[in-house]
């Protein structure tokens, strides 16, 4: 994956240099106070190469991902701005892409988005004018061919220079199709892909073997999603209530064997062991640490997992 930089951002440079990349996640607040974003950015800065700024995650109204991205970048943290297809049509999304690029965003990660029935405005109308793969291709064409979806040309200096991100979930069904769905995203133009939280390492390995076989890891960077389990309660909740997440019984047993007040510590230990294994796994280019509302733990975890210091690309 040599050649010219797509965005020239930090994440892209780290990945292209062949270093094991680290991304984090920053959930914007459910209000307008920028201090909250700055505080979270403080935990992430220097510990990750870029932080995903979520777009109304779980369909709950939050500060817009573009605004929060800008605030985070003001603190020196590179944003990986997320954009979901749930809330906007192709007019608004292309417009936001142009706006984000103009404001200095380097990475844009495109998702279908959680259905609004999970969120705090289940009465909302959803949009889904495009799906995530439609939008990934549209963004690639805006950047590389310099055209909007309607064919209108963008001037040379007016193309959005964005490193294109996508998500993949090896744990959803049908299992055999998951790598093909990732292939569709790579074919459409995804430069890097981040996975859903991994707990079932066996299934993840099977997925990656398939992705390697399909040649996907030669064409895009695959990052592995890691979220430490805070407690046995959280593990059970995620297993039973969150669609597309698998938590093996062995992990639950392991947490059960530890007193309640030490379970978070054990969860972090499990995550660090996972990261060790992921570093050695063929086709894995980095980890994506999702610690939403647990951002202050990032520095400790990154240190414990031996991911410091972050390279200066």
């Amino acid at each position: 994956m040599k050649g010219d930089f797509k965005s020239g951002g930090r994440l892209e440079r780290v990945l292209r240099a062949g270093a094991f990349a680290v991304t984090g996640e920053l959930g914007p607040p459910r209000h307008a106070d920028p201090e909250d974003v700055r505080k979270k950015a403080g935990y992430l800065l220097g510990n990750v190469d870029s932080a995903n700024i979520t777009d109304n995650q779980t369909a709950v109204v939050r500060m817009s991902s573009m605004a929060a991205s800008l605030i985070a970048q003001g603190e020196g943290l590179e944003a990986n701005m997320q954009m979901v297809c749930r809330d906007r049509n192709r007019i608004a999304m292309q417009s936001d892409i142009l706006g984000a690029a103009a404001l200095g965003v380097n990475n844009l990660l495109i998702l279908s988005g959680d259905h609004q029935s999970f969120g705090d405005h289940p009465e909302a109308k959803n949009v889904y004018d495009l799906d995530s793969i439609n939008l990934i291709r549209a963004l690639r064409d805006m950047r590389d061919k310099g055209v909007l979806m309607n064919g209108r040309e963008l001037p040379e200096g007016g193309r959005p220079r964005l490193f294109i991100g996508a998500a993949y979930n090896p744990f959803a069904d049908p299992e055999a199709f998951r790598a093909l769905r990732a292939k569709k995203k790579v074919d459409a133009g995804a430069d890097f892909l981040q996975s859903q939280c991994i707990y079932d390492m066996g299934r993840y390995k099977r997925f990656m073997a398939r992705a390697v076989d399909l040649g996907l890891t030669e064409r895009a960077f695959f990052m592995a999603g890691v979220t430490p389990l805070k407690s046995m309660g959280m593990a059970k909740y995620m297993r039973d209530k969150v669609p597309g997440i698998i938590i093996p019984d062995a992990l639950i047993e392991r947490l059960k064997g530890v007193p309640k007040d030490r379970q978070a510590e054990e969860g972090v230990r499990i995550a660090c062991e996972q990261i060790e294994e992921l570093k050695a796994m063929e086709g894995v280019s980095g980890v994506h640490l999702m610690l939403v509302e647990w951002e202050h733990m990032i520095p400790a975890i990154v240190r414990q997992a031996g991911l410091l210091p972050r390279p200066v690309p």
């Binding site: 297809c85 749930r86 279908s112 988005g113 959680d114 259905h115 029935s117 959803n126 889904y128 004018d129 495009l130 799906d131 995530s132 793969i133 439609n134 291709r137 549209a138 979806m149 998500a167 993949y168 979930n169 744990f171 959803a172 069904d173 049908p174 055999a176 199709f177 093909l180 769905r181 292939k183 569709k184 074919d187 459409a188 859903q196 669609p243 597309g244």
Partner: protein, 223 residues
């Protein structure tokens, strides 16, 4: 066909509050087939309303009538003798296309929809109906193994199942099949998976409701 469902009783009783004489009009079209607004349901609703009025110690005169189709001026005309102001309310038990035809033809009448159009679909079993189409105006099911991802995927995805598909069910409801599981099973079995992988479909929504209210004019049928 159109699958409809009767509105909650309290909403319907609200429509006829203070009226002594009402007409309940059914339809022999889709709503008869889906047991929502045919002659039988007209009879049930009229009886329920009479009973309710009786309980409250007042009389209610409720006439019953079921037309061949309410979305057809020819049949709507059959009501012309009755629409002389004798009814305080007309409850249409057709899908809400029917009451619009009635209200247009009989502007003096107070017409209310007794049903909600729920969706376009069909029966899965006796008493169970499911959505199959969203009238996007440009059918593409042949590209998806004969299944409609526009109406049957909660996110109208065109390129495969989202990350919430689990055990064949949709992330939005365990009661609902994930249509993408069905599509993937089908195209894997029938050998069209490669074509699907190469496909890059972006929907043009102009033919859907997004283009504004739709209308078809067929010149050869104009008289």
């Amino acid at each position: 066909m159109i699958i409809a469902e009767r509105k909650p009783m309290n909403e319907i009783t609200g429509f006829i509050e203070g009226k002594a004489k009402i007409l309940v009009v059914g339809c022999r079209g889709c709503v008869t087939v889906c047991n929502a607004g045919g002659a039988k349901e007209v009879e049930i609703l009229a009886s329920l309303l009479r009973l309710g009025a009786e309980k409250e110690g007042r009389g209610l005169h409720a006439d019953e009538l079921t037309l061949e189709r309410q979305c057809d001026p020819e049949y709507v005309e059959e009501l012309s003798q009755l629409m002389d102001g004798r009814y305080g309310a007309v409850l249409s038990m057709a899908c809400p296309i029917g009451p619009q035809y009635l209200a247009r033809r009989y502007p003096e009448a107070r017409v209310f929809p007794a049903l909600n159009t729920s969706f376009l679909g069909g029966a899965l079993a006796h008493g169970v109906w499911s959505e199959f189409c969203q009238a996007c105006g440009d059918c593409v099911i042949h590209l998806f193994g004969g299944f409609c991802p526009i109406s049957r995927c909660a996110k109208s995805l065109l390129n495969g199942p989202c990350g919430g598909s689990e055990g064949g069910k949709c992330e939005v409801s365990k009661e609902t099949d994930c249509v993408w599981q069905l599509i993937v099973d089908k195209i894997t079995a029938d050998g069209t998976l490669d074509a699907f992988m190469a496909m890059d479909l972006v929907k043009d929504w102009r033919t859907s409701r997004d283009g504004g209210p739709r209308r078809i004019v067929r010149q050869e049928l104009l008289r």
